[in-house]
């Protein structure tokens, strides 16, 4: 894999995705050892710039960088000068002066990571840009699915919920289609964007129409913070029509894999007995997330320092 940035799954090939997932699977072994650290990125600097709040994604990226021995510089919008009116480009120029090797960015504007990737030499990893993409989340979802299903080719993944606002869903759709999976969508009409069919997704709207066919059910979080207009009449009604509870799960294949990008609204999109049930792989997703982020840092960070240039073979 030879590219500078990870901006989205839209432009990754099947070979590249396979390479990332294989590499991530190897990194899981590092996380199971007694000393959970390798010297691979010693002396490299990774900046995590979260212009939008995040707890677990930021923790996961920070830990991934530390396990590779990189120095991590954290930057949270709530405590930064963006509050004082600094533009993204000015912030980035300041970060650039610290000579980082990679920047992990989350931003409420779609395309913010792309702008930085074009303007600066360091690797840019998109940790979520507006409602566009969240590639590492989709990669960890796909790694989790692959662990359970073997291959993704020909498998059916049902995505249920607010697809319109979900960058996780978009990245998964791009990645899953590239890997040859069939993607079904269920959700209220207001939450299914009009371009879904053009992306190769079968839209069926009702959860009851997708649940029986699915090898994987991906439940999306109702993002109360993004629901500007009334897209659903009430949370309780949404739960009744689109929530995954034990009764609905009974109609699925017995070995169906239930995934959720976290954090869960218990009792809204997913009933507690499903979230904690044996089909749920939510905690595996967290473990795989760390491995996927280590893999991305390993694969992307370069900065040629071949200076002395002795080949290390034997």
């Amino acid at each position: 894999m030879k590219r500078k940035d990870l901006l989205g799954l839209k432009d990754l090939s099947r070979d590249e995705i396979t390479r990332i997932l294989d590499t991530a699977a190897r990194f899981r072994a590092v996380n199971a050892r007694r000393i959970k650290k390798v010297p691979t990125l010693r002396g490299r600097t990774v900046v995590s710039a979260f212009f939008e709040n995040s707890t677990r994604t930021k923790m996961s990226f920070d830990l991934a960088a530390k396990r590779l021995s990189a120095d991590v510089l954290s930057f949270a919008a709530s405590s930064s000068s963006t509050r004082k009116g600094e533009t993204l480009m000015d912030t980035a120029r300041n970060l650039d002066a610290m000579r980082p090797d990679a920047i992990i960015i989350r931003h409420s504007r779609a395309g913010a990571p792309h702008m930085l990737a074009r303007s600066f030499p360091w690797a840019v990893i998109n940790a979520g840009d507006g409602i566009n993409e969240h590639p590492t989340q989709a990669l960890l979802d796909m790694l989790t699915m692959r662990d359970h299903l073997g291959s993704l080719k020909g498998k059916t993944v049902a995505i249920v919920g607010d697809i319109y606002h979900s960058r996780v869903a978009r990245s998964n759709i791009f990645g899953l289609r590239t890997m040859g999976a069939r993607v079904l969508a269920a959700g209220p009409g207001t939450m299914c964007p009009p371009d879904l069919e053009a992306l190769g997704v079968e839209v069926r709207h009702r959860i009851d129409d997708v649940i029986e066919d699915a090898d994987v059910v991906m439940m999306l979080r109702i993002q109360r913070e993004r629901l500007g207009r009334a897209m659903i009449s009430s949370v309780r009604e949404y739960a009744a029509f689109y929530g995954l509870d034990a009764r609905r799960l009974e109609r699925a294949r017995p070995d169906v894999v239930v995934i959720h990008p976290n954090p869960i609204n218990r009792g809204v999109e997913m009933a507690p007995e499903v979230a904690d049930g044996e089909n749920s792989v939510i905690m595996e997703q967290v473990t795989n997330g760390l491995a996927v982020r280590m893999a991305m840092l390993y694969l992307l960070l370069d900065g040629d320092d071949s200076g002395g240039g002795a080949d290390a073979s034997a």
């Binding site: 390798v38 390993y298 290390a312």
Partner: protein
């Protein structure tokens, strides 16, 4: 080196290892991916034949410990490392097919140390081709072969060892 010579050399190395490393239950042969692993298995077979006790075999992929990862080229594919969960107090024999600059052995030792504190580490190689860049020497050497810096030493297991000079076909 012909296939028969390699077989004889492996048998001799197995005897030397037992002689100096002691009870096969108390040490682990650790092959360096990729060339060292088949050799480690062959040595373990040889020790089992001689002693009636086969030592444990593990392997290390040293990619994450290399000192030349940042070359501007695509990153190497990661192999698997499998070592005893806790190797503190055990003996370790690092096994590789060819000893050259010594950088791979340095990386392998660093990785092994991250799994615990072995009682000792020794090094067994089939071919020592010289050109060391680090102060590393093998405890068990199959054959010393004089080579040019740019030569390639190719080990086939089973099979023999050949030295290719630059310009000769791959």
């Amino acid at each position: 080196m012909s296939a028969r010579e390699v077989d004889r050399t492996i048998a001799r190395l197995a005897h030397e290892i037992v002689e100096r490393a002691g009870d096969p239950r108390e040490f682990t042969l650790v092959g360096v991916i990729t060339g060292g692993l088949p050799l480690a298995e062959r040595l373990a077979d040889g020790i089992a034949a001689a002693e009636g006790q086969r030592p444990e075999v593990g392997h290390v992929d040293i990619t994450l410990y290399r000192d030349d990862l940042y070359t501007g080229l695509e990153k190497p594919v990661l192999g698997e490392t499998r070592l005893p969960i806790d190797l503190t107090g055990r003996g370790i024999v690092v096994v590789d097919d060819v000893l050259f600059t010594g950088r791979t052995v340095r990386a392998a030792m660093d990785e092994i140390m991250d799994y615990g504190r072995p009682r000792w580490i020794k090094l067994a190689v089939l071919v020592d081709r010289g050109h060391r860049e680090l102060p590393i020497a093998a405890d068990f050497v199959g054959r010393v072969v004089s080579t040019g810096r740019a030569d390639k030493v190719v080990v086939h297991l089973p099979g023999g060892v050949e030295v290719r000079r630059p310009g000769e076909g791959e």
